[in-house]
């Protein structure tokens, strides 16, 4: 059970960085 929680937190962390990349892409596109 604890393993599932830890892996879910890890996956959430990685997912949040992917979302940040998407947000940054929008910022970069706006600057063109």
């Amino acid at each position: 059970m604890m393993d599932c929680i830890m892996l879910a937190v890890l996956a959430g962390c990685i997912g949040s960085i992917i979302l940040l990349i998407g947000w940054c892409q929008k910022q970069v596109d706006k600057s063109e």
């Binding site: 604890m2 393993d3 929680i5 830890m6 892996l7 937190v9 890890l10 996956a11 962390c13 990685i14 960085i17 992917i18 940040l20 990349i21 940054c24 892409q25 910022q27 970069v28 706006k30 600057s31 063109e32």
Partner: protein, 591 residues
Amino acid sequence: MLQIALTILIYLILVIPAGVYVYHIAAGKHTFADPVFNRVDGAIYKVCGVNPKNGMNWKKYAVSLVITNGIMILLGYIILRIQSIGLFNPNGIGAMEESLSFNTIISFMTNTNLQHYSGESGLSNLSQMLVITFMMFVSAASGYAACIAFIRGLAGRTKDNVGNFFVDLVRITTRVLLPFSIIGGLLLVWQGVPQNFSGNVVVDTIEGTKQVIAMGPVAALEIIKHLGTNGGGFLGANSATPIENPTIISNLIELYSMMLLPGACVITFGKMVRDRKRDLAAAVVADGAAAAIPQIEGRESLTARIFGREGRSIFAAMGILFLIGLGVCFWAESQGNPALAEVGLAQSMGSMEGKEVRFGIAQSAMFTTTTTSFTTGTVNNMHDTLTPLGGMIPLLHMMLNVVFGGKGVGLMNMITYAILAVFICGLMIGRTPEYLGKKIEGREMKLAALCIIIHPLLILTFSALAVATPDGLAGITNPGYHGLSQVLYEFASSAANNGSGFEGLADNTLFWNITTGLVMFFGRYLPIVLQLAIAGSLMKKRFVSESAGTLHTDTMSFAVILVFVVYIFAALTFFPVLALGPVAEHLTLWA
């Protein structure tokens, strides 16, 4: 003092050829070792299905980095959880606990190497090799790759190609980390560092007691630990133990190993920016004038030739910050500890509590300042027993996170500060700021400001959480001013991906494992993504010609401005907590 000066002088001599070599690797230029490494790299590309000619834009590069690192994190977590199997486990070590596995795997993938366990009792040899040593290579190569992509973006030789992440990852591993590690590892074996697959050895001491001496592939881990600015030791006491760091020569090998590549990255930056300026000049001037360009560069000073003009000002700013910190740390430790003097211990050698006699004050202060400036995190003395001001320097340098910094990311952080510096100077003289021939506008400043604010936000928010909750307070073993310093140090070390600690903190608990794990993760990947986005934004912009009002960023005066900007920002964000921690402790101790 003389040995510190000599140590730095030798470093300056060593970093130049290393910088030239790394520049050739980063720029894809021919090197003497190409006939061998081209075949090795080609085989790896073929097996992995990588086309080295395919470039990536900043977004694809960042996604490749994060996904690759993410997959390794998940696989590494599983290995730590099943390490109790008999494979390469001569000491019969059991599976690592869940929250500790979470902390450890993030720690090593983010180049932090914060260890809430003791290597000799917490990891099997399989984990030491397959997780720890492997990740020391990959995390270092990932940081370097991000830095090179960032430089390519700033140098802006194309509109939308910062390189190929997988190619950069392979090239830095096969051409820099592996060959340097083999040479350095053999030198450490020569100095007496063990390299075997034996179980621990139990010996009878001359006092008639039993002592367990740890064995294993120590030298292989030890060299990449420093070369990749990783810092996690094979043993709990790290490079303070004579097994990991037996002699003054091994100490110097480890010291130079961790200083070499971050310095080389700055030289790479300077040379790559100079290449771009040459291209631009050759493109815009008439044929006759173009022929004069090499003659103009022939009059460059020696330092400008070695570092590149832009690299020189960045290296100078980092050097000034480093030398100020080193001076304060050495002076503070040389003064001794009045509390120890009161109980009758002579302080003529300085404050030797927690230090190795074979290294003394000078090499301990040098190692302490270096390991936290270059964000390695290896220690040859116990930082928790440094004097208050001596301990404030490593803490401050991790808070700054720009004093050379880890392999690649320190340079990226310093360039982010350079963008902030030109923005502030632009405000003062009423001009649109420019850096490396590109206008710095609202979007870049928004990303740069976010990038700079993340670091103190992580440190201060989580420190506040720790001192406001029972679970956080439970870890503090030294209540009072030093207790706050312990908490600050733990989170500063995590956010800066350093990994050293004030080890008096009882940190192997669910609270500390999870919180420091999150700080390490976001302290690593948030800035890298934002910095790659800044590079992606700048490389789309047109170059602007220099005019009389352009702020020159390749001068010593800009280096001094940069130092002041870094210190002012640090003072505004961290001075209150430093006053409550190490400064208050110092005033109490010497009252």
